[in-house]
């Protein structure tokens, strides 16, 4: 077992930018740090391929349901449980509904959840963390107690209790995510701001008379941006998972609405004779999850050079 192997070859001595004269070019407001991150992300094959696969899935989610004449709720008992054919590309379910249309309709739900989770994380999570970190003292104490309680309960339990209280459905899942989804982000942003607070440029800004909001938006948030972005990318797959999980155990979306979780549950019950009902939605959700996770990994490595191996 060799402990470490350092390979030094010509490649190690290549200039970082492909054309050294690039440095001379006027690059407007673009930040060097972000350009570097983008360059590193492009080098990460897994992340880059994921980006394309995701774009492909998004396109299919947008156009897929319109690519044939069926709707996701249209039943036709004469064609129930059809295997994939030229008529129904991915077959039909027990009510004769077109599986292709339902899968992409379900993907839309997952993508909506992903978007919602991201927005919530950005708005509630970042603001909560920023306020807690910036004001400190009593405000921080109260806000942290709230977070302590939210952290003390397994997330899914909170969501399930809420679902009991409201009708299962997309609105309930959204509300549940409003309550629990942003906690991690708030903690991260808070601790980051605690670090930034002691920096000289913040003090300088204060001395020049900048108000709290200017400091938050001009100093704290831009300097936490990479952290925020990376955490955001990890929130998305877990949100997609939560929705699918709830729908799978029957506490999420209800018939005739289709979500990937609902479809997998249906497919699971019919898998003995109609495996394709289970396999196709599984492939889509696994592809979504793998791509988002790889992208998040790639992004983390790209913005944090320390992690680069």
């Amino acid at each position: 077992m060799s402990i470490e192997k350092v390979e030094i070859n010509d490649e190690s001595f290549q200039p970082v930018l492909s054309d050294p004269s690039d440095k001379e070019a006027l690059s407007g407001k673009e930040l060097v740090g972000w350009r570097n991150s983008w360059r590193r992300l492009k080098k990460n094959k897994g992340a880059f391929v994921s980006l394309f696969v995701l774009a492909f899935i998004v396109l299919l989610a947008i156009f897929g349901p319109h690519m044939n004449s069926y709707t996701y709720y249209q039943t036709d008992y004469s064609v129930s449980f059809q295997p994939p054919s030229s008529e129904h590309w991915l077959g039909t379910d027990k009510f004769g509904r077109d599986q292709w249309t339902r899968i992409w309709e379900g993907t839309r739900i997952s993508l909506y959840i992903a978007l919602l989770a991201a927005v919530l994380d950005l708005i509630i999570g970042v603001m909560f963390g920023a306020i807690s970190g910036v004001f400190g003292g009593k405000v921080d104490l109260v806000l942290q107690r709230i977070i302590d309680i939210l952290v003390g309960i397994p997330n899914l339990i909170v969501v399930i209790l809420l679902i009991l209280f409201m009708k299962p459905g997309i609105v309930t899942i959204s509300v549940a995510m409003v309550i629990t989804g942003w906690v991690n982000m708030a903690r991260l942003v808070r601790s980051q701001i605690f670090k930034l607070k002691t920096q000289e440029y913040v003090m300088a800004s204060q001395a020049l008379g900048a108000n709290v909001f200017r400091i938050i938006f001009k100093h704290f948030i831009p300097n936490s941006m990479s952290l925020i972005l990376v955490n955001l990318m990890f929130t998305i797959p877990s949100a997609i998972f939560t929705e699918a999980f709830l729908s799978f155990i029957g506490l999420g979306l209800q018939e005739p609405l289709a979500s990937l979780g609902v479809l997998i549950n249906d497919g699971f019950h019919a898998m003995q004779s109609h495996y394709y009902l289970l396999i196709f939605p599984s492939i889509v959700i696994v592809a979504l999850m793998v791509c988002f996770n790889l992208l998040a990994d790639g992004l983390r490595d790209a913005v944090d050079p320390k992690m680069k191996d």
């Binding site: 309680i149 209280f165 799978f248």
Partner: protein, 312 residues
Amino acid sequence: MQKYILVRLFNIVATLFVISTLTFFLMKQLPGSPFDEEKLAALPDEVRTQIYDQYGLNAPVWHQYVNYLGNLLKGDMGLSFYYQDRPVSNIIVDRIGPSALLGIQALIIGTAVGLILGLIAAFKHNSMWDYITMLIAVLGISIPNFVFAALLQYFVGLKWGVLPIAYWESYQSTILPTIALAIGVVAVVARFTRNEMLEVLGQDYIMTAKAKGLSSRNIIIHHAVRNAMIPVLTVLGPVVVSLITGSLVIEQVFSIPGIGSLFVESIKVNDYSMIMGVTLLFSVLFVFMVLIIDLLYGLIDPRIRLAGGKEG
């Protein structure tokens, strides 16, 4: 240290109090009733009052709440609404066996396999093993546990017929659900171990050890692994949570009479007292797990000041 534990215990009690209060009042607000309303309306008034009395539903809500908390301290979680007249605690005791067995099996196997994979990947960095481990890790983290369970059941149980498909009959029927639960643990532990190990191997003290002329074996056992293990402990918290939530679906998929499936069933039939009982059980498990991990963390690495909190 003692002060720290006291503060933590106090926090735990406060958290559990908030959770039980919240769940109690949420349950009271719930639509629907555990009883069959139509049949109940047909009963004579006295009988109906008697039924309500038996379940303590006639008293004012705050009174029911105080009663509930009082009983809870005695370990009495009330009667189940669904399983006619059986105490919630009895049913939980009946059902906890399979869940505990699966959970512990998955935790031990998952951690062990994850550690081994992670260490191999780190020592053979950028080799075939490394890539395979990373592939397993990414897939294990990405594939939703219920999808994995369903696919396992389809291929191993149904297609190949190697292992029992479902139900809780022999030891063999624990194998598939354990794998389904453990894969997530393997993924998280393997990935974390690998990254920690790589980080440690790049440290100066490893170089020093090598310069002193220690054998690779010695360095790995005494310097590298020991230091890498400490951070790995932190992932056990999230791992336990994933095992708890995992049990909800895995037990359903494999028709296992455990706590997870009990919870999902109770939600579907509005068995309020049961839902509260299981929620509390999960919460207690969760908060104590977090506490134990934090304490272990401090014990193993004296550099970590417990009182300093998590600001890091």
